[in-house]
Amino acid sequence: MENPYSASEVELEAHARAIRKRICVMNAGAKSGHTGGDMSEVDILVALYFRVMRYRAEPLAWFDQFVLSKGHGVGGLYCCFAELGWLPEDELSTYLRDNSRLPGHPVRQKLPGYVTVNTGALGHGLPIATGLALAKRRHAGSGDMGRVFVLTGDGELEEGSNWEAAMAASHFELGNLVVIVDRNHLQLADATKNIMNPEPLPEKFAAFGMEVFETNGNDPAGLSRLMEEMDFRNGKPKAVVAETIKGRGVSFMENVAAWHHKFPNEEELARALKELDHA
């Protein structure tokens, strides 16, 4: 099974831009949302869904799978689903509303097949992805293994359950597991280094037995190439420390902690869309 899009570098950039515009519109309309984290993760989602992950779109069937551990980044995921044609464009306006299929954290019962698991509390995705990767390896036998990609925040790594899972992933030699850290350096209250410094982060993952990659997390083509070149059969789980900019793509949102849980007002939306159009 291949990626149904196998998008080119130019296409990846265009998808990312379109998704960022949707995020701004959606969060402005909802008057809520985790705008900063939605924006920082976009290029990672684009790389995965439009290039790297192997699945069938019609009818939907997953060979590789994705877990959004930073569940508060679900706005970015919904806008990515809209770009993929899985959500009608106008449905994004129901985000966070009564009876919507689009709650503020992903709910698999709301979007069966599209959302892998219900996250929102932090530090849950990596253990789940570890179990899923182990199940995929068990069922693959000597054949081609499905891979599991899990996206965490960087502040989220303060949760100890991540490190229980990291230890287990190495112990069980899950080469088909890729944890991608949306390393935007900011969490709810302040910079991660001021709250609970995660550095040296790559060394931590390495010490847990993982194969570590440091890369620009806002470059979808570069991310795609990196993941395409990984050796998934070497028995080493992968950790991608993806350096990103929180609020990426809109100058006044970039690297501002306040945009963690802030939505654009009318004037800010107009400016944001203008900037993204000219990016």
């Binding site: 799978q65 698999r108 019962q109 892998t116 698991v117 219900n118 996250t119 929102g120 509390a121 530090g123 849950h124 990596l126 253990p127 789940i128 992805a129 570890t130 179990g131 899923l132 990767a133 182990l134 199940a135 995929k136 068990r138 069922h139 599991v148 100890g160 359950s161 229980e164 899972a165 230890m167 287990a168 112990h171 069980f172």
Partner: protein, 328 residues
């Protein structure tokens, strides 16, 4: 008393049979291979036992992931560390996400006795009950435990089974068929009033059903023959059927190795109140007012009146109260 057996042996036997029958079962443990008595299963199906080490949060999270990867997953670890340490994983990864994970809560209640309160799970039924979808079972003997494990594997979605480390009296026949939701009536008091005109019913949970059974035997000497309900299926529960049996009696005693908050006593009190069924009721279990009483398991049961003698006394006290009320 009937012969006694360990619930875990029934559970492990059932797991073995499930794999023999072709089920894609994996058992996840957190260094709890001896706690779960999984040895015989592991010997035959070593690659189906996954030990994550002393890391309960990761065990439950991984279990959810393995279930998403189409395994039928059982977790087997000490109940206190399942419901407390891994509470949020149970809540979100298993219950909320509706993954196909069956959780065996080993050595629940005060099974660990003198190892004290860190190792007791007197809140597992209460905690699980708060998660709206998980099915909750508490077998009282080895046959029921085996049946519940088989049933759990046959249904999709989360299940919790409260297990024990004691040799518990066998109160069912080997061919007993567990029916989820059905109050299991182990002893039926006289259909009419008993010799002295009183009708008592005892409702007991899992590990203390044997104590209640012994209390019933002792009460016979006083010409009291209570009905005994083994409330082994907490969710689902046919509350209409339960209420119908309860309302046939004058007095009700509940007994559980569990907190009175959110256990079967509370469940029954709510059912009675909702339905306007006024009966004399005594709820026996772990009371509030101290964090926990320290002692051997027998000592703790005695302290809370959930041993045979305590249950017998509670029935007699209610009988006295009912008689006094009738005379007044």
């Amino acid at each position: 008393m009937h012969e006694a057996a360990d619930l875990r042996d029934g559970a492990v036997r059932a797991l073995t049979e499930l794999v023999e029958a072709g089920a894609d079962v994996v058992v996840m443990v957190s260094d709890s291979t001896s706690t779960s008595k999984i040895g015989p299963f592991q010997k035959r199906f070593g690659d189906r036992v996954i030990n994550v080490g002393i890391a309960e949060q990761n065990m439950v999270g991984m279990a959810a992931g393995m279930a998403l990867g189409n395994h039928v997953v059982f977790t087997a670890n000490a109940a206190p560390f399942l419901v407390a340490r891994a509470n949020e994983q149970v809540k979100n990864d298993v219950c909320y996400s509706q993954t196909n994970v069956k959780m065996l809560g080993l050595n629940a209640g005060v099974a660990y006795g003198p190892l004290a309160s860190t190792h007791h799970a007197i809140d597992d039924i209460s905690i699980m009950s708060g998660f709206g979808n998980v099915q909750i079972f508490a077998p009282c003997d080895v046959f029921e435990a085996a049946q519940m494990v088989r049933y759990a594997a046959s249904v999709d979605g989360p299940v919790y089974i409260r297990l024990d480390n004691a040799n518990l009296p066998v109160l069912h026949d080997a061919d007993h068929v567990f029916e989820p939701g059905k109050p299991d009536i182990l002893l039926r008091g006289p259909q009419g009033a008993d010799a002295l005109g009183r009708r008592a019913v005892i409702v007991a949970l899992g590990s203390v059903v044997g104590e209640a059974f012994a209390a019933c035997q002792a009460l016979r000497a006083r010409e009291i023959a209570p009905t005994l309900i083994n409330l082994s299926s907490i969710r689902p529960l046919d509350t209409d059927a339960l209420a119908a049996v309860l309302s046939e009696h004058d007095l009700i005693v509940t007994a559980e190795e569990h907190s009175l908050h959110g256990g079967i006593g509370a469940l029954i009190a709510m059912q009675l109140a909702r339905r306007g069924i006024a009966r004399a009721l005594a709820t026996l279990g772990v009371t509030e007012g101290e964090f926990a009483h320290y002692g051997t398991r027998a000592g703790i049961r005695k302290h809370y009146g959930i041993d045979a003698a305590g249950i017998e006394q509670a029935v007699l006290a209610l009988v006295g109260a009912v008689d006094a009320a009738a005379e007044a």
